[in-house]
Symmetry: C2
Subunit: 265 residues, 2 copies
Amino acid sequence: MTFQEKLDLAVGKNNSLLCVGLDSDIEKLPAKFKSDKYPQFTFNKWIVDQTADLVCAFKPNTAFYEARGIRGIEELKLTCDYIRTTYTNVPIILDAKRGDIGNTNRGYVKFVFEYLQADAITVHPYLGQEAVQPFLDQKAKGIIILCRTSNPGAKEFQDLPVTGEPLYKLVAKNVINNWNKNGNCMLVVGATYPEELAEIRKIAGDITFLVPGIGAQGGDLEKTVQAGLNSMKKGMIINAGRSIIFADNPKMEAEKLRDEINRYR
Amino acid sequence: MTFQEKLDLAVGKNNSLLCVGLDSDIEKLPAKFKSDKYPQFTFNKWIVDQTADLVCAFKPNTAFYEARGIRGIEELKLTCDYIRTTYTNVPIILDAKRGDIGNTNRGYVKFVFEYLQADAITVHPYLGQEAVQPFLDQKAKGIIILCRTSNPGAKEFQDLPVTGEPLYKLVAKNVINNWNKNGNCMLVVGATYPEELAEIRKIAGDITFLVPGIGAQGGDLEKTVQAGLNSMKKGMIINAGRSIIFADNPKMEAEKLRDEINRYR
């Protein structure tokens, strides 16, 4: 089963476009988890158990685990193993934003798809398709390319005019027209820029977008959903991290957000 | 002591612009190391001990260690600890090519500068200065931004004309003019493109370049050195990985390359 198929099943079964970002910063964990032998994993397990029937995917970000060295990487692996074996229908997106030359990217492929056995990864476009190819060759995996990111400084390079249109559009076009031969490409498009999201949807057909920026980053949900849906009223993986996992009641928060997304679909 | 100061000392003491890339792919290690408890670390120690007086820096690439999960990360840490404590004058560049939003990059800062205690890191420019700021704030560390990479597909985006000049030049200009307030920025410029290297040197004043692509990637050394030197006949960290570490005699190969670089200075 490919990542897209697994994703579609979860979207249908849980009636959800919501992805919960497991940005489990050790310093922000509730006190009761901090004394645990595996604080990040135990916290993640608690979040995952509450929300697995409300989401279309989980998305751990490697930075919050690497910050703790091998202890964090171990907890990241425990987290991926737990989700994969306990909630077999819910795919794991590793938000790693990797991007090296081709030969070297093979190492990252092993880390993400063999060691962690994740279903999808986020990658940088700057080195071009030839460099990203070892990721693209993983036909059953989702390769999610940064296109228009959600941060305030994204425009510094991404909005620059290249042969008459912003760079982010050219990234989208190259991915759609050339990189996507295995049908496994997706794009990262931030919720903080609904106009750009709508522009990219025009270019991108029904391809799936990973959409960060809702919640703590302040993206407008209604505009985002309306700008980003594809012709099948899906095609979006809408991520919320901190606003759910550090809420007083993560399950309630996830359910509320899932339902709000669905109202706008 | 800043990364630049540590680098300058090593350049002077070892009369070298050569950096050895510790791209210690477990599958390519000589057979005698593969049965070791710590094959990558033991191999790296063997390389480092032979070449520490011939180089200006060592550059492990994270991908080759992450490929093995926590075992690899442990060997990467052992390697960094060994270099830092045994060869105190030789800086460590972690070739990690990271790049997330600002909040998240703090996790990578902890990994690279607190956990591994490296002296410098490579980062992606695509998300802009605002995202890279947590790295730039590390005043004593080297922040080496991808500008014109050494791979064949680099031109897909990096050479695109943006307001009349290629994107890579604009990256260089923004870094030089805006990002480098702490004087800790450097640029990655591949040896496989000496003309682009010369163009970037014109923009970049005396700033230091990390120059991969010599050796296995086929860059022309004489053209590279002549195109990239700054006004002090240095300002380049010329990296060779596979062609040295997997040579029959790594010490001899490193010495030969160091001396050849010096002939062209």
